[in-house]
């Protein structure tokens, strides 16, 4: 099998085409939003949001049953936004630090999710997909949801770029400039929550954090400005998605795990090569 055939063969399967589109959308979106997650040290929050959607999904499953797969998305979305607002409220209105508030809400929500799942009789396939991801099972309807919500998130990030930049880099300046900082902070949390939910089917909640922070962190290491970090991160996320899916197709690996392993490999390559490249660049400039 030559290289071209190796690349084209999976595209003969409609499910693989849909999966690749989903992986590209999710890889790009996660890295753009993930840039703020990395820079604002919100990694724990991102992980918590991913895990905290479990009770919402489980409740949706119990209410809608096996046939109500589409409604799980809305249950997950509602839960993620509610949890994000809950964490913000606890950390702002009490003396509890944000990471502690996240830990309490996240663990509590996850426990509730497991308790609800334990009441389901038999094997709940849809719930397993939420846990571990199932990008190969993405439908056209799923793609529309990912595209619509992902596009809306990217549009907000683009339109409010300078506001999010100030609120993230220098919240004190944002206050002295009389910007509505609380509004922007909550909006950013909601954008992270939406990103987590639209990405769940690709990598699952267990590995969602990796998609949010790994490509963005790799990009951080090789760029100087936030827009470039977002762009390079998105490209790395997309490459991770595509290469991971091919590895999954040819070697029978779990798709979500394969995507994340590619992202981690790219990160490792940059970490290992970066000092040498920096030295080479300095010596060339002398």
């Amino acid at each position: 099998m030559n290289v071209l055939e190796w690349i084209v063969a999976p595209l003969r399967y409609p499910f693989m085409v849909r999966s690749l589109i989903a992986a590209v959308l999710v890889g790009g979106l996660s890295a753009v939003v993930g840039s703020y997650v990395v820079l604002r040290s919100m990694a724990f929050l991102g992980d918590a949001l991913a895990h905290a959607v479990l009770p919402g999904v489980a409740a949706g499953y119990l209410i809608a049953g096996q046939g109500g797969r589409r409604s799980l998305f809305w249950w997950a979305l509602g839960t993620a936004i509610a949890v994000a607002l809950g964490i913000e409220t606890i950390s702002q209105r009490t003396r509890i630090k944000e990471d502690t508030a996240i830990g309490i809400v996240f663990a509590g929500a996850f426990a509730l999710g497991i308790a609800l799942i334990s009441t389901v009789r038999g094997f709940a396939t849809d719930l397993v997909h939420v846990l571990f991801g199932n990008v190969l099972g993405v439908s056209n309807g799923d793609l529309i949801l990912i595209g619509a919500f992902g596009g809306a998130v990217l549009l907000v990030v683009f339109l409010l770029y300078k506001e999010f930049l100030v609120v993230s880099f220098d919240p004190t300046l944002a206050v002295t400039l009389r910007l509505p900082t609380t509004f922007y902070r909550i909006l950013l949390l909601i954008l992270v929550a939406v990103t987590v939910v639209v990405s769940l089917q690709t990598v699952g909640l267990g590995l969602m954090l990796a998609m949010l922070i790994t490509p963005a962190t790799t990009a951080y290491l090789v760029t100087r400005r936030l827009p470039r970090m977002m762009t390079v991160g998105a490209l790395l996320g997309i490459v991770s998605g595509i290469v991971g899916l091919y590895l999954s197709f040819y070697f029978g690996l779990a798709s979500g795990a394969a995507i994340v392993l590619v992202a981690i490999t790219l990160f490792s390559i940059v970490v290992i090569l970066r000092p040498g490249v920096a030295r080479l660049r300095r010596s060339l400039h002398r």
Binding site: K162, L165, F169, D170, T172, L173, T176, L177, L179, L226
Partner: protein, 270 residues
């Protein structure tokens, strides 16, 4: 917001504020006229940072009032606040021009991009603090003095009438300190009212019109000659400080032979 022409740039009356539940400043009162330069000095924990944050509208007072050009500080975007360097994330992926451009955001408004005239204002602000060659440099590559000058440039880009700086000379070597002082002296041509919290009493006496000696309460407010007396410093710092007056200010030294002193030592060169 339209300024009250007859009101001082800053009027503080019986201002008290708490920090972490404890009183940080107690019934502090003073006024600063437009274009004046005030040094806020006092030992660590005297409430200097809390006072600056209250003036900027960042820290709610527990009692008393702050008026900026006759109005509450929350209504103004003419106040630029430069925090202590230790509170800034210097690894954030932004360039010097990015940071200075942030000063324009309050003028540009939401959902809008910076226009050509905004970028020109940013370019002029960078030139004013002699950072024109640093625009595309990442901020973590700047020295301590360059970082302070960048924030002054941001205040200029913000078209601030009042600049509040929290310990801008902390950790700077002599050369960098001189560069920052020159930049702050240059603010006089913009008629900027400058309030700086600092430890160096020599700098305070040489480069500022007035000094507020703070230790929770205001122990003194007035011209450097009136405020910087050994008796006043003894009350503020508790240690035996000796003052040597020169043409350019005062040199404050810690008298280790003096009994009853404490280890708190303000900086002291001029």
């Amino acid at each position: 917001m339209i300024h009250d022409a007859d009101a001082p740039a800053i009027a503080v009356a019986d201002l008290s504020a708490t920090y972490d539940g404890h009183p940080a400043i107690v019934e502090v009162s003073f006024e600063v006229a437009a274009g004046e330069r005030l040094a806020i000095v006092g030992p660590n924990g005297a409430g200097k940072s809390t006072l600056l944050r209250a003036l900027a509208g960042l820290h709610p007072p527990s009692s008393g009032s702050v008026r900026v050009h006759g109005h509450a500080p929350q209504g103004h975007i003419c106040i630029a606040y430069v925090p202590q360097q230790s509170t800034v994330d210097w690894r954030f992926p932004v360039t010097v021009a990015d940071v200075v451009s942030m000063g324009r955001i309050g003028r540009v408004g939401p959902l809008s991009r910076l226009r050509a005239d905004d970028r020109e204002i940013v370019r002029r602000a960078l030139a004013e603090v002699e950072l024109d060659g640093f625009a595309e440099r990442r901020i973590e590559a700047l020295s301590g003095g360059e970082r302070q000058r960048m924030f002054v440039a941001r205040a200029l880009a913000q078209e601030s009438e009042i600049v509040l700086m929290d310990e801008p000379f902390a950790g700077l070597d002599v050369h960098s300190r001189e560069e920052v002082i020159n930049v702050l002296d240059g603010l006089r041509s913009h008629d900027v009212t400058l309030l700086v919290a600092l430890h160096d009493l020599g700098l305070a006496s040489a480069h500022f019109d007035k000094i507020l000696l703070l230790k929770g309460r205001a122990l003194g407010f007035g011209s450097p000659n009136d405020i910087l007396t050994e008796a006043a410093l003894q009350r503020a710092y508790g240690s035996c400080l000796r003052m040597v007056r020169g043409e350019d200010g005062v040199l404050v030294v810690h008298d280790t032979a003096c009994s009853g002193g404490r280890s708190e030592r303000p900086g002291g060169t001029s």
